[in-house]
């Protein structure tokens, strides 16, 4: 127990002289994960919309693929991205490995199936009658798409938040790709893992608390949105 009390004692010292390093770690976590969500939504949302609106051959196959990609473990994606970006890999020349952009790429790949699947469900929750009402009222394709986004805004936003929550807590893959380099690719989860292993609990605890608070805060709008969507 002594080490815990010790840590908590240090924690107060620590918090009072709020560390620049902590701040930069927290900010990087947010930046990487939100960029990943932002970028992947450019792939996932149109795909979800296309799968909802168009009935083309192979549509069911794509949906099955997306659903099975949900099962792929993060560490496998980490391995693939690592192999692609490593010096000998096909994209090695770009020199992305162990940068925050490499983390963004891996995280984006991780959530593309998640956002696609959730947005598909969100778009499909818009009843066929809504689409047909838009058409009979004279909507063109662009206006129809806009209406679809408006009608599914709550579950869509919930999907993005859930994807963000998944990423902000992602550890192993991010460590593999980013390398957990101090001042450059160290995010909350990787720092917690490292500091815990080193036995320096105070930083781990501070970051752990921040992480929990973030996840807690995220779940509030999520609950509200899911409630609003159900109405």
């Amino acid at each position: 127990m002594a080490y815990l009390i010790e840590s908590l004692h240090k924690l107060t010292e620590f918090a009072s002289s709020f560390d620049k390093e902590v701040l930069s770690i927290v900010l990087l976590s947010f930046r990487v994960s939100s960029t990943a969500v932002f970028l992947s939504s450019f792939v996932s949302l149109p795909l979800g919309l296309l799968l909802t609106l168009k009935d083309f051959p192979g549509r069911r196959v794509i949906i099955s693929i997306v659903n099975s990609l949900l099962m792929v473990p993060a560490v496998a994606i980490g391995l693939i991205v690592y192999l692609l970006l490593s010096r000998q890999g096909p994209l090695g020349a770009v020199g992305l490995l162990y940068t925050s952009w490499a983390m963004v790429v891996a995280q984006a790949l991780l959530v593309i199936p998640i956002i696609t699947s959730l947005s598909l469900a969100a778009f499909q929750s818009v009843k066929r009658g809504v689409r047909e009402t838009a058409l009979t009222l004279g909507a063109n394709l662009r206006q129809l798409i806009l209406t679809m986004f408006k009608e599914s805004r709550y579950p869509l936003l919930a999907a993005l938040i859930m994807a963000f929550a998944r990423l902000i807590g992602e550890t192993g893959m991010t460590m593999m790709i980013g390398g957990n380099i101090r001042g450059s690719t160290r995010v909350m989860t990787t720092t917690i893992a490292l500091e815990t292993m080193k036995g320096r609990f105070e930083l781990a605890i501070v970051l752990g608390i921040i992480l929990l608070v973030v996840c807690g805060l995220i779940s509030i709008p999520l609950q509200l949105l899911q409630g609003a969507g159900r109405r």
């Binding site: 809504v130 009402t133 408006k150």
Partner: protein
């Protein structure tokens, strides 16, 4: 002529939904599609509104082939009001303004205000459309359709499932539109009396086919319309002879005399026999004799009661059997049970007369 339909057929998964439909829809005219559920009315309206494609056949709008013109400009000249109105998840204002915004029109606020007045929903602009009652939603849907002044309005059973107040407002509005505007209106319904009052032209659909069509006035008094009425499952069909007594006209059903409202023409044709039908909704049930202006009041005994959807279908024997439809609440309030004595009351004008041309037996038509 606005729309011309030629040899239109539609099949889905091997099932024939529409079979060789030919139809003309004209400006300033009200057309009614009548038929039981599953007759293909909704599919026909959806095809006319470009929401579905026919399997075979041609449709022309102002002489131009549907297949050869761009979808959007054509679709923007018409509107289909679905049977169950669908509201966008936003305010009433945004719902009504939708068509105007799509068309990038001006003075949206003014127009929305005016059309909401027409459907008696003034001041509801900011209300969330998802919180509206069924009747209000149907009126908003109607406002949303009328606000951009379409050339053709398709209405799919617009008064289906509406409360009496909304039904009256929607019906009045439809009649107003019919008399005031240049629009072509096409309305599907299984409400025969509404069709009779509303339509210039009537088409009876059965299993995807038009089995009968013509000018409404002719259809509703012609022999074959009786057949149409029968296939629609209208109960209370009677056969008898008309005679006059004390300046009133009666239908003699041997066991019973029903007073009817008739013209001289009816009387002349009816001396040799007429058929009459009476909608079950037009009959009032009471447990004591009911004093009113209605000319027909008979005493009888309940022989059968069946629940149909939210309503109760009651059969009462007054010498001949009448079928009456009433709500469960009315049944409970009057404590109606089989065997109980009841009085049936209906107006002379509620009895529809058509010349007799089908095989009949006793006082009740088969």
């Amino acid at each position: 002529m606005r729309i011309k339909v030629e040899n239109l057929s539609k099949s889905l998964d091997g099932k024939v939904i529409l079979n060789n439909i030919n139809l003309k829809i004209q400006e300033k005219r009200a057309t009614c599609l009548i038929g039981p559920n599953g007759a293909g009315k909704t599919t026909l309206l959806r095809i006319l509104n470009l929401l579905e494609k026919p399997t075979r056949g041609k449709i022309y709008y102002d002489g131009k082939d549907y297949d050869e013109v761009e979808r959007l400009p054509l679709q923007r000249r018409m509107i289909l009001l679905a049977q169950e109105p669908v509201m966008f998840n936003t305010s009433v204002f945004n719902n009504v303004a939708y068509g105007l915004k799509m068309r990038k029109k001006k003075d949206i606020k003014e127009k929305v205000k005016r059309v909401l007045e027409m459907v008696s929903l003034s001041g509801m602009e900011d209300r969330s459309a998802l919180t509206l009652s069924g009747g209000e939603a149907q009126r908003v849907a109607l406002a949303r359709a009328l606000v951009f002044d379409p050339e053709v309005i398709f209405l799919d059973e617009p008064t289906h499932n509406l409360d009496p107040i909304s039904k009256k407002i929607v019906e009045d509005l439809i009649f107003h539109l019919k008399s005031e505007s240049q629009k072509a209106m096409v309305l599907s319904t299984h409400d025969l009396s509404f069709a009779e009052r509303f339509a210039h032209r009537v088409h009876f659909l059965k299993k995807g086919k038009i089995v009968e069509e013509g000018e409404a006035r002719r259809i509703f008094s012609s022999p074959s319309s009786f057949f149409s009425a029968r296939f629609m499952g209208i109960t209370n069909l009677f056969q008898g002879k008309l005679f006059r007594e004390d300046e009133a006209t009666f239908l003699d059903l041997e066991k019973l005399r029903i007073e009817v409202a008739s013209s001289n023409q009816d009387l002349k044709a009816g001396k040799n026999g007429v058929c009459a039908f009476l909608r079950p909704e037009e009959i009032l049930v009471s447990t004591t004799p009911f004093v009113s202006s209605a000319r027909n009041c008979f005493q009888g005994k309940i022989t059968k009661m069946e629940e149909r959807g939210g309503l109760v279908e009651l059969t009462a024997d007054c010498g001949i059997s009448f079928v009456v439809v009433l709500t469960k609440r009315s049944r409970d309030d009057l404590n109606l049970i089989p065997g109980k004595k009841v009085h049936l009351t209906f107006k002379a004008s509620a009895v529809h007369l058509v010349p007799d041309n089908i095989h009949t037996k006793g006082g009740e038509c088969e």
